[in-house]
């Protein structure tokens, strides 16, 4: 443990991180957002899921600094009379949860597929990559919308809304795994003819051990780089699905569904219900993207360009 830490302290990664003000700033903002989101019950003034805190008389109150605002609700309230700030923090938690969950799922799926296809080659490679190609020829957002529409019809809207979090993770995971598969495959193809793999083969290790213990760790650079960008993508996809009414229900809103419910009231001048969750969402995606850009520049792996 101590050795890893010392190695990390001397690494080029940390060195270039310290040089880059944007990266430091992004990481700081991201950490703040993550901590606020994950510890939502601690930070939010009210519990938006508790009906006792909701009073319909408080609905559509503007932010506290405006004329009609109330000091109790810093950023105002939404249409159901929930404190907007609390609802946003809980929504942020859901967005982060779904985003990371979806990336873990698509990562596992894509890495296994890419590894098998790249290392074993031949028929398996042809079949798996054909599937990935076919799916990649459609925009991932469209695939996600289709899958969620089908799920919603198959489960019925009531049950879909109950199971929304795991279902969204599955939907977004299924829609985006080919990106991982292609990247890992390309990296494996580059690694598998190197001498250390040859050596491992010569001492008679079986191929599963070579694949997962020797080749896989060497593909992790590219996986790490696309993972950051994929988290941003997954958060965006979740927001888009929720905005279309195919994601989180209004009772347990994510940032996307909050924007959706606020949009219906924007014509009556209630801009805050849309704007604040929107800023939260953009901030979250922006800092992840900035970190992803920085990581790509520093690690500079030969990524598959598609």
């Amino acid at each position: 443990m101590k050795r890893t830490w010392r190695r990390f302290k001397a690494s080029y990664l940390l060195f270039s991180f310290k040089q880059d003000k944007t990266a430091i700033f992004s990481l700081a903002v991201l950490l703040v957002l993550l901590v606020t989101g994950l510890l939502a019950p601690v930070f939010s003034p009210y519990d938006p899921y508790d009906p006792a805190n909701i009073d319909i008389m408080n609905s559509e109150l503007p932010p506290s600094w405006t004329e009609n605002g109330e000091a109790a609700f810093l950023l105002g309230t939404d249409i159901q009379g929930r404190d907007l700030l609390s609802t946003m923090i809980y929504g942020l938690r859901l967005s982060i949860l779904i985003g990371c969950g979806a990336v873990i799922l698509q990562g596992c799926l894509g890495v296994v597929v890419g590894l098998l296809a790249g290392y074993l080659g031949g028929k398996i490679d042809a079949v798996l990559m054909r599937i990935a190609d076919i799916q990649l020829s459609f925009p991932y957002l469209m695939v996600a919308i289709f899958i969620s529409a089908i799920f919603q019809l198959a489960f019925g809207i009531g049950r879909y809304e109950d199971l929304a979090v795991p279902l969204l993770i599955v939907i977004i995971g299924l829609a985006e795994w080919p990106v991982y598969a292609r990247t890992v495959r390309a990296a494996v193809m580059g690694e598998k003819n190197k001498e250390y793999v040859e050596a491992a083969r010569v001492i008679g290790l079986n191929r599963w051990r070579i694949m997962f213990r020797h080749v896989l760790p060497n593909t992790m650079t590219s996986v790490l780089v696309i993972s950051t960008i994929q988290v941003a993508n997954a958060v965006m996809s979740e927001a888009a699905l929720s905005f279309l009414g195919l994601g989180m229900p209004v009772t347990k809103p994510s940032l996307g569904s909050l924007i959706r419910s606020g949009f219906e009231y924007i014509f009556s001048g209630s801009w805050w219900i849309t704007l604040f969750p929107g800023i939260f969402l953009v901030l979250l995606v922006l800092v992840i993207n900035l970190l992803g850009d920085w990581l790509r520049d520093v690690l500079n792996p030969k990524l598959y360009k598609g």
């Binding site: 469209m142 198959a154 888009a240 922006l286």
Partner: protein, 324 residues
């Protein structure tokens, strides 16, 4: 070359086969055609009789073959809600979506080209730096948020532009067009700008980096040495070679824009295919949903195949690489 075309077309047919299988499974497992046909008063026994008569108790493969045969002949079933053939419903909505994409494409071309070229020629100017920073931000803003902000500024606060619908349209032989009336154009502005906003940052960056790369090449240095006028070097010599990769990416991104039309159309209540699709989901109109899936799938497959074949014509290495 002939072998390449044949292989590519076989592949396209195979993809269509998979899409139709998916579509049919949805229809078969989730949809209930009897519900679409009869009212509530019909007894279970009569329903069963109707099922038999319509061949809904046949084996999966027989039913699939029937579905595929009808689909090839352009019959994708009848929409439960509209009581019309699903394909006709989609065809009626298609012009709206196509005009939206067309308008957005025009905006992208006319904004990203000048800005991209300018920031490649003067990468250190304040304007270039500003656009670069702005485009990083632009990638992170979801399209529906851009659309809502545009509506709030231009429709709610300033009241300059309409916020929903297509406005006045002119019928041109079955094609309801909003391009020929002032009202229609006014309605197009906001949706097109929102749709364009997702692609603009990407294209500005792409054009900039391609152009900067071209400006570093030997033949541009030679043109400078030859004493050509700078405008001639920038806009004739360098610009032409910048365009090639840009056009390629543009073709791919147009397809991706179709996915985003679903979002844009929802915000603006735009009566296009995407809006229709979401309505179909809400109404559990499975025939229409499956028909949409098939049509969009077919469009993507055809476009991808044509693009690939053109590629093969232009760039022979692809033909060989694909063969392995």
């Amino acid at each position: 070359m002939f072998a390449f075309v044949v292989r590519r077309i076989t592949q396209a047919l195979f993809v269509m086969l998979i899409i139709s299988l998916v579509g049919f499974s949805i229809k078969n497992k989730i949809g209930d055609p009897i519900r679409d046909l009869v009212g509530e008063r019909v007894t279970p026994a009569e329903r069963e009789l109707l099922r038999d008569k319509l061949g809904l108790n046949d084996p999966f493969v027989t039913q699939y073959l029937r579905f595929a045969k009808n689909a090839v002949q352009g019959d994708l079933g009848v929409s439960f809600f509209h009581k019309k053939p699903a394909l006709a419903v989609i065809a009626a909505k298609a012009p709206a979506t196509l005009e939206l994409v067309f308008g957005a494409a025009l905006i992208i071309i006319f904004i990203s080209l000048p800005i991209g070229v300018f920031s490649a020629i003067y990468p250190r100017s304040a304007f270039s730096r500003f656009t670069m920073a702005f485009s990083t931000l632009g990638v992170s803003v979801p399209v529906f948020l851009t659309a809502i902000v545009l509506i709030y500024i231009f429709s709610v606060e300033l009241n300059w532009l309409p916020s929903y619908g297509r406005g006045e349209t002119v019928s041109l032989g079955g094609w309801d067009s909003g391009l020929f009336t002032v009202d229609g154009i006014m309605h197009l502005i906001l949706p097109c700008f929102s749709l364009a906003s997702i692609m603009l940052p990407l294209f500005i960056r792409l054009i900039r980096s391609e152009m900067m790369e071209v400006l570093e090449t030997e033949y541009i240095k030679f043109a400078w040495a030859k004493g050509l006028h700078r405008k001639r070097i920038w806009f004739i010599h360098a610009f032409k070679n910048t365009l090639l990769p840009v056009i390629t990416v543009f073709g791919v991104q147009i397809g991706i824009m179709f996915a985003f039309t679903i979002l844009t159309e929802t915000v603006f209540q735009w009566q296009g295919m995407g809006f229709m699709f979401l309505e179909a989901v809400e109404r559990s109109d499975i025939s229409l949903l499956v028909a949409y899936l098939m049509v969009v799938g077919a469009v993507f497959v055809v476009v991808n195949t044509v693009v690939d074949i053109i590629y093969g014509l232009v760039n022979p290495t692809i033909r060989i690489a694909g063969r392995k």
